[in-house]
Subunit: 362 residues, 2 copies
């Protein structure tokens, strides 16, 4: 196969194929498992989104609106931006790829923190681009070190704020200083997938900075706070220069119809987003206090998930929890071999998680 | 912006933004318009797909199964292939792009008929690849001319069978001969989006030829015969070598959850596919006879759409029909400036189309 592949991607390693929960349950004989591995919304999907989808099911034989007119119009109103500065994707995932496909030329570099959301790396490698990796400092993205890693070859920087998997967030002030210090020809992708969960008032979206930084791209998603991960719908804000460029390469019908319908309705579902924030905040308080009680280290978080250090190691903890029907994420692939990551679940799920963790550790 | 774009795509032209029907209706003041412009299914979506989606709406906060396990398993059973030879995409559109992103290196060429489905060209240009265009012969794909256009630089050939927008199909025997005559290092993408509509018994899918041609990729879609264009779901068959390569570059969660659920159910909806075939066949008979009656040229078709030559020219016909609330497709962007394309509609839509066409031409 290598001979056949595009030059520059011959050494890619396959993505693990993965199996649906039902398949795992069938194989392991476990029923009633709970999944805390993918930072999904414990409350389920936005009810307004579900209602809107139900009402529009009879139209799914039509191609979606390729321009996402209605959704972009609503986002424009909500964020006080012109529609021309908004793009919608098949999840924010697609937009991450699109930035690379649209702007990265051979020989140019992408600067990334590590560990961070795995897709940045995957997309750059899949494109045959060069990565420059900057380790976190004390589990936080190290902006001064990233600045030092920037060279004349740098084209794109990815920053996940708050950062997955550590849950740490940069303050807006730090980001302003960082953007101000960068060369003017570097594209900065600020992935704000978890920004709705941030409780530190100094952590905030960079949307309002778009005017001052023409090469800033802010990415957002409906997968987390709105509970629509299955629909695949995310969006990006940037200057017209960036958005027009991405639209040149974007697939004409990238965002599916039910995702557009659901996302549009979800934007009106503030009640749901508020309930989500409350259940995450309360769940974190419970988990912090329980982890303190049993003396396990963890990271306080600005998101709906948290890192926990386990004395059994990441993989062994993952496997033993799985056998008990509690699906967590081993952080070994993120280079954190003593950590697991869980998202906050429903109160009963958080209790079951703690009970199971205590059981396997004792 | 050009300075910023990836090298090789600086001269791309923007894709027209497009507006939803509701927006067009608002602007033109027309209500009750009918759309025959996108080769969609006149019967709507598969009812079994709608039912399955309704039953699974409460799970849309979960990420989709990135491996599309259940859908690939069902496709494997239906087509008698191993799951390892099947890939699922965000519409067949995504898979068209993925073949190019995965296999086309700088300097290599893609051979395409013309006119054909516009996305092949768009994807190759968006990637900065070189196109070699081979004109149709008498509205059919000219396989001998394509063979002549193949050089040592050729990496990929796109063949749309039946061909959009002409509706003509190649016979299986011709394709076997063609595949047999090609150098063994050329990837052939056979896009069979409309194959379910072919009535000529000599026109058939190439799925069973996969064993003999390791670089053959057959693409299929749920957008047409199953009426699921809005969901964005298509699939491809190829050797493990090709599929494994594409999976290296594919986004982990490319196919959304409701699309997977809907497609899985639609595969069991033979009743719907048969009803669709009948309404298309009957509609074509009606349209042929009416067009004969008023003396307009048209192309007989192996699909759910047909080309009609109009004495007013493509653009003018499109505009006048639009004013009457009948949305057709001007073929000017396909280089056919005297032609419009319509898909077969419901019987009352076909009647309204004919009545309106007669009115604007008289």
């Amino acid at each position: 196969m290598k001979r056949l592949l595009r030059k520059g991607i011959e050494n890619l390693t396959p993505y693990p194929p993965g199996k649906p929960i039902e398949e795992l349950e069938r194989e392991t004989g476990i029923v009633d498992s709970i999944k805390l591995a993918s930072n999904e919304n414990p409350l389920g999907p936005s009810p307004k989104a579900i209602m809107a989808i139900k009402e529009n099911l009879n139209n799914i034989h039509r191609y979606p609106d390729g321009s996402c007119y209605n959704l972009r119009q609503k986002l424009a109103q909500k964020f006080g931006l012109p529609m021309s500065k908004i793009i919608v994707g098949n999840g924010a995932d697609e937009l991450i790829g699109l930035v690379v496909y649209t702007f990265l030329s051979p020989g140019e570099e992408v600067v990334l923190p590590w560990p961070t959301f795995l897709l940045y790396e995957k997309v750059v490698e899949g494109f045959g681009g060069k990565r420059v990796t900057v380790p976190l400092s004390n589990f936080s993205i190290d902006l001064p070190a990233i600045l030092k890693a920037v060279s004349s070859a740098t084209k794109i920087i990815f920053i996940n704020n708050p950062n997955n998997p550590t849950g740490k967030a940069l303050k807006k002030e730090e980001l302003v200083h960082f953007l101000h210090s960068l060369p003017s020809d570097v594209i900065v992708v600020l992935d704000e997938a978890y920004i709705e969960f941030a409780t530190d008032p100094k952590v905030a979206s960079v949307v309002e900075l778009l005017e001052s930084y023409p090469l800033l791209v802010a990415l957002r998603t409906f997968s987390k706070a709105y509970g629509l991960a299955g629909l695949r719908i995310g969006y990006g804000f940037a200057s017209e220069m960036i958005i027009d460029g991405m639209n040149l390469v974007r697939q004409p019908f990238n965002a599916n119809y039910l995702a557009q319908v659901g996302a549009l309705a979800a934007l009106d579902d503030e009640e749901f987003v508020n309930k989500t924030r409350t259940i995450i905040r309360d769940g974190l308080e419970f988990l912090y206090s329980q982890l303190d009680r049993i003396g396990l280290e963890y990271m306080t978080t600005q998101t709906n998930f948290l890192l926990i250090k386990t004395t059994l190691g990441a993989e062994e903890t993952y496997r033993r929890m799985l056998r008990e029907g509690v699906i967590v994420r081993s952080m070994e692939s993120f280079g954190l071999k003593d950590y697991i990551r869980i998202n906050v679940g429903l109160p009963e799920e958080n209790k079951r998680f703690m009970k199971t963790l205590e059981k396997i550790l004792s």
